[in-house]
Symmetry: C2
Subunit: 144 residues, 2 copies
Amino acid sequence: MNSIHLICLGVQDLAQSRKFYRAIGFVEPNDEHANEIVFFNNTGTKLELFPYSELLKDIGLNATEHPFPKSFNGVTHAFNAKSKEEVDFIFKKALANGAQLIKQPVWGDWGGYSGYFSDPNGYYWEVAYSKDWQFDDNDMLVIE
Amino acid sequence: MNSIHLICLGVQDLAQSRKFYRAIGFVEPNDEHANEIVFFNNTGTKLELFPYSELLKDIGLNATEHPFPKSFNGVTHAFNAKSKEEVDFIFKKALANGAQLIKQPVWGDWGGYSGYFSDPNGYYWEVAYSKDWQFDDNDMLVIE
């Protein structure tokens, strides 16, 4: 196992979450099932949105023992931009579409520029830029 | 924003988590900082392990309001195998190395074979196989 194919976010309101991710740039194929489950055609590991209650059913968990997380859930997903301006543009777009500002982008002592927002469900995203990153032909990070 | 570059898992014990992901097949480059932060050289969005306490600091959260999640955190990451046998092999490997069985792989009415385990931190992974999936040259899912 040396690949990750899908990131599934269990969401509370599928239509609202779908609208948010489309607004910040994620692209869907034509999909007749998009009212039940959403797959985005993004680069890299694909993003999937699935109602939290359905995800619990699929896993076999009950909602009493596993309520929807109310605080930070321990995981962040990151988009690595190609410029500081792109980071700022994405934050503006995300906040205008229902994201919550968690940390305003700042230059860090590691040499990069980054911040965090949470999506309408409370899932955290880091958007960052560093001149030191390299990307491969599929726009994925080169880890050396 | 139409890419995902990094999946960061905030982990309670970096050395233990690193050992687990190496055991199930994730490959690291030589990295002198692997005692502080781990990046795997996997296909697709890259997997990163970072101590939970450090991740909280980076985001600017405090541990009282954001304790380490004790129940399902709402997110799953999936590995899509090329055969039923590969799914079984990965489950065997994961469970032998400290994963917890959440759902034994079964054939579902959607035509595929899949199950869930959680890693030593309690983060959920789905491992699945379906004859209907297509993969591109980078081993990423084709979403049509």
